[in-house]
Symmetry: C2
Subunit: 201 residues, 2 copies
DNA sequence: TTGCAATACTAACAAATGTTAGTTAGTTCA
DNA sequence: TGAACTAACTAACATTTGTTAGTATTGCAA
């Protein structure tokens, strides 16, 4: 296992209940449209009582975003440290990405969609992490190019396109669906590497 | 030209000014965080005066979303009607998609990101159009498979992944950037068809 | 010039929001 | 027992929000 999950393995503390309920609500209605009163009523308390457990609405968003970012970065770092073959690296990076996003589907969705609503300070920190993550992918592509395994593409363009397809997983992945995260990762890797044309192997 | 633009070729009526200012603000701050007072001050009037020109905040969002959807669908329909070769079809569908999204960058962004904030009634209508659009792409892929040009992939999966990469264009496209919409479309088509591996043609 | 339609304004509303203050009940533990 | 802590409550706050009502001004058509 590349990365350990903190969000999905929560003790059932009141704080954890609040987080879980919040993330579910935010996935359904969006961060801004989810009020503290909505959250409170989901965990059967008054809005004011939430402040005995969390310091404000934004920490739900920020803790989620930064935890996910941390997991993604950690996984990518491990991949970039350990394995040599660029194809293998890319494949493992994709697997890690899908794994992290699907481990807690609500958190994954909120992470992908709602980071824009972070306070300015947090947003700046977050974007820095995102840039770092993108750089990790760029490194893999560059290595692939240098070794003559990958086409000579516009790296920035390619990385963004790849990450776009990876992130879209949060849109339609269902734990009870007909594809496991591993299968999804495999299909995505295949798509990224070989595209649609049949002549390709 | 496959599709004519309505949003980008606006007469400078007061309503058009309001729409333009709104879309720019909404791209920067999001739909929900953009208040009528923000919009009003951007066009130098009072919030209440906006109602002489538009019936409410949501019409800005809904008109934008449905206009974009209409343009996308129209372009796709033309492609599916006229051309025969699936590869050519896909390539033209991609080109149309990128074209529509980049013609008015703010509208494109709002369309991709904010449709979730439509009223329930509009959201249902919108999702129906989106499903129809996805079906158009599925048809192309299926044809490619039947003719032995495309790999035998999970079509639903492939279409969603493809559209994800196409939509991500709104994230980073800049009219003054170093790639034209046509070049972007070309690169995307290449990526979708052939992937990253070098052995592919 | 008169009159009307278009467009702007001021004022205000009712609702919703995140959060704070102050209080109370229950539990833990010395 | 009693002190300290935890976690719930009620009440209220200051803002912000989209929108409406009513009124003034403007500019064009008759």
């Amino acid at each position: 296992m590349l990365v350990s999950s903190k969000i999905s393995v929560q003790k059932s503390t009141r704080k954890a209940q609040i987080f879980n309920a919040s993330l579910e609500l935010m996935r359904r209605m969006g961060y801004l449209s989810t009020s503290m009163r909505d959250i409170a009523s989901a965990v059967k308390m008054e809005a004011a009582s939430l402040y005995n457990h969390i310091s404000g609405k934004e920490v739900i968003l920020s803790e989620t975003c930064f935890l996910m970012a941390e997991q993604l970065l950690k996984g990518l770092a491990e991949v970039n440290d350990i394995y040599f073959n660029p194809i293998e690296k890319l494949s493992l990076a994709v697997k890690n990405h899908v794994k992290v996003l699907t481990e807690n589907t609500h958190a994954g969705w909120v992470f992908v969609h709602e980071w824009r609503n972070l306070s300015e300070e947090n947003r700046i920190r977050f974007v820095a992490l995102r840039d770092e993550y993108e750089k990790g992918f760029t490194t893999i592509l560059k290595q692939g190019e240098d070794e003559g395994v990958f086409q000579d593409v516009n790296n920035k363009f390619a990385v963004l396109t790849i990450l776009a397809s990876l992130n879209w997983v949060v849109e339609w992945y269902k734990p009870q669906g007909d594809m496991t995260p591993e299968q999804i990762a495999e299909k995505l890797t295949e798509f990224i590497l070989s595209g649609l044309k049949k002549e390709n192997n």
